[in-house]
Amino acid sequence: MVALNDTEATARRNSVPWLTLRRREAIEGWLFVSPTLIGFLIFFLGPLIAVVFYSLSEWNLLSQRATYVGLDNYADALTANRDFWHVIRNSIFFAAGLVPLNMALALALAIALCRPGPGVVFFRTVFFAPVVTSAVAWAIVWRFLLQGEAGAVNQLLAHVGIDGPNWLREPNWAMVAVIVTRVIKMVGLNMILYIAALQAIPRDYEQAARLEGASGWQIFRMVTWPLLAPTTLIIMVITTIGSFKVFDHIYLMTGGGPENGTLVLAYYIYEQAFEFFDIGYASALAMIMFVIVLALTIVQLLLRQKGSA
């Protein structure tokens, strides 16, 4: 019997001439992706486009009236509004504090916990558990621990003779407290990424280096660290983006205070939109944040391409 090619066979079986195998597969493919695609269009792309329009209008949620104002909202943010630059400065401070601390701690924990040994699984769980803990519970517990004189942290400090500040009530200390508690909550995620990367480095490298007389520090500096570079880069960008988007932690721990000391971009947007109902201005801020995050993402992609070239 002469074998029919796919197109002929399909056409004959279906007796619908235009429905070739290729077209049939294409239709099936679109049907398979359609649930996600439709969801993406309605719940993601739609709002995104809407935000662009809102950002170009003056719209107070209470008055229900929107008027087109062009780029006024952007101009307002970038030039007239002193709060905006304060907020940007806070966001940068938050990222600059959180990212290095998070990464250094994650790497140190990963090195300590990457090889099998007594207690390793236990400690990995201990450091990863906060990642999957409810942010609300986490924040409430830490607010309790960081209370002025009665808080457990200050009581511990008092034991060693340090008179701790009222952490969440003083502008500078509040930011430090928010950063540190956020690092403790999220460090487990980066630790896992680093553990995976460390485990992917063949042990032969370390052993070869040891045989050639390299010290532990030399092995880390000359072999391990360079081989971790791609992972370090990804972790750095992801963590930076995450820190620019931080909201829940601020909302629950300080509400942006005291004296706007922890007022960061995402929280500021929320405040403008849902406390002051200034949707137009908030949308413009959201667009600015979108551009910042997009820029960081592009930087990440470029660096990754460069790294793999």
Partner: protein, 359 residues
């Protein structure tokens, strides 16, 4: 340069004893190969010499220094890994100079020694490439180059050729042999491939279950194996082992005295196909494997079992053919109930002249 002495060396991982009282002396400049089936402890023993595994019991001497507690880097050994362990982010030049750099040698001295080694191994044109840009054989040479650069007393090779294809393996084997001839360093080489062991070694150490089964030159191991394990491990195709009682008739007709032997070993190359009237055994060919220069025959001999026979020439017998076999009386290996070799002189009988003459 220096020799090695392993004295009652043992190694335990938890409760499992993987090296059990190994005694061995390796002469200065000798090429010694550890060979054995996987899990026999050969790599562990090598890593104990290198210092990458600590020593549970016994003593290790390199030259006249006891090395048990000496750091790996201070033992004067260099190791070539099965995976090559070339750092992927460093060029060939940087890989080869790594050890000197961590020991804070001057850059000019590093460059000089790397270039020396590169010349020895014909790596000159590859110095600025990264490992991923090299072929398997080139990577292997770089790994050897990295070992040479440090001017070690002893080279350790851990199955260095097992990641290469068959052709390249033969080529690199010859290069390693040539390198040993030129450098005259002590070399200890681990492999599971008995051909590699036979072709490279001054002496072979056959290991099984963490113990030495036999130490000797390739020729000694082939012609005078101490036990059935060595007899079957060394030589390809494998030696036929049969019950002595089953072969008593043919062997006595061949003039071989089997008294005291429980098992008898005959290598496939020492069984000859002969015309019917000269035959000591009759068998039927079950399988015939054509190898080019001849054929490997699986011959079913009634009352004995299947025997491997190497037949030379293009026109060998075909399956189902009846064949007649002669035994080479000088190459019959006899073993006692424990599988240990029984030599003619053990029994006090002077038979099989070839075996005695070989002493």
């Amino acid at each position: 340069m220096s020799g090695l002495k392993l004295s009652n060396l043992s190694k335990c991982f938890g409760k499992a004893e993987v090296i059990r009282g190994v005694d061995l002396e390796i002469e200065d400049g000798e090429f010694v190969v550890f060979v054995g089936p996987s899990g026999c402890g050969k790599s562990t023993l090598l890593r104990m010499i290198s210092g990458l595994e600590d020593i549970t019991g016994g003593d290790l001497w390199i030259g006249d220094r006891r090395m048990n507690e000496v750091q790996a880097a201070r033992r004067g050994v260099a190791m070539v890994f099965q995976s090559y362990a070339l750092y992927p982010h460093l060029t060939v030049k940087q890989n080869m100079g790594f050890g000197l750099k961590v020991r804070k040698e001057k850059p000019a001295e590093i460059a000089r020694r790397v270039e020396d080694a590169a010349r020895t191994l014909q790596l000159g044109s590859l110095l600025d490439r990264y490992p991923r840009e090299l072929s398997g054989g080139q990577r292997q040479r770089v790994a050897i180059g990295r070992a040479i650069v440090g001017h070690p007393d002893v080279f350790l090779f851990d199955e260095p050729l097992s990641n290469l294809d068959a052709e390249l393996r033969v080529h690199m084997r010859a290069e390693i042999a040539a390198l040993h001839k030129r450098l005259r360093n002590t070399m200890v080489y681990v492999t599971h491939d008995q051909i590699e062991a036979m072709t490279l070694a001054d002496r072979i150490v056959v290991l099984r279950d963490g113990r030495i089964e036999q130490v000797g030159s390739p020729r000694q191991l082939y012609s005078r194996p101490d036990n059935i394990f060595v007899a079957q491990f060394i030589g390809s195709p494998k030696m036929n082992i049969c019950a002595a009682s089953d072969l008593a008739g043919p062997l006595s007709r061949a003039g071989v005295d089997t008294s005291g032997a429980v098992q008898v070993g005959l290598r496939p190359e020492h069984l000859r196909l002969v015309p019917e009237q000269q035959g000591l055994m009759t068998g039927q060919v079950v399988i015939s494997e054509y190898t080019g220069s001849g054929s490997l025959l699986h011959v079913e001999v009634a009352g004995v079992g299947t025997m491997l026979v190497l037949s030379e020439g293009q026109e060998g017998p075909r399956p189902d053919d009846t064949v007649y076999l002669a035994i080479d009386p000088g190459n019959v290996h006899m073993f006692d109930a424990d599988g240990l070799a029984r030599r003619a002189e053990d029994a006090g009988v002077s038979a099989s002249g070839a075996m005695v003459a070989e002493r």
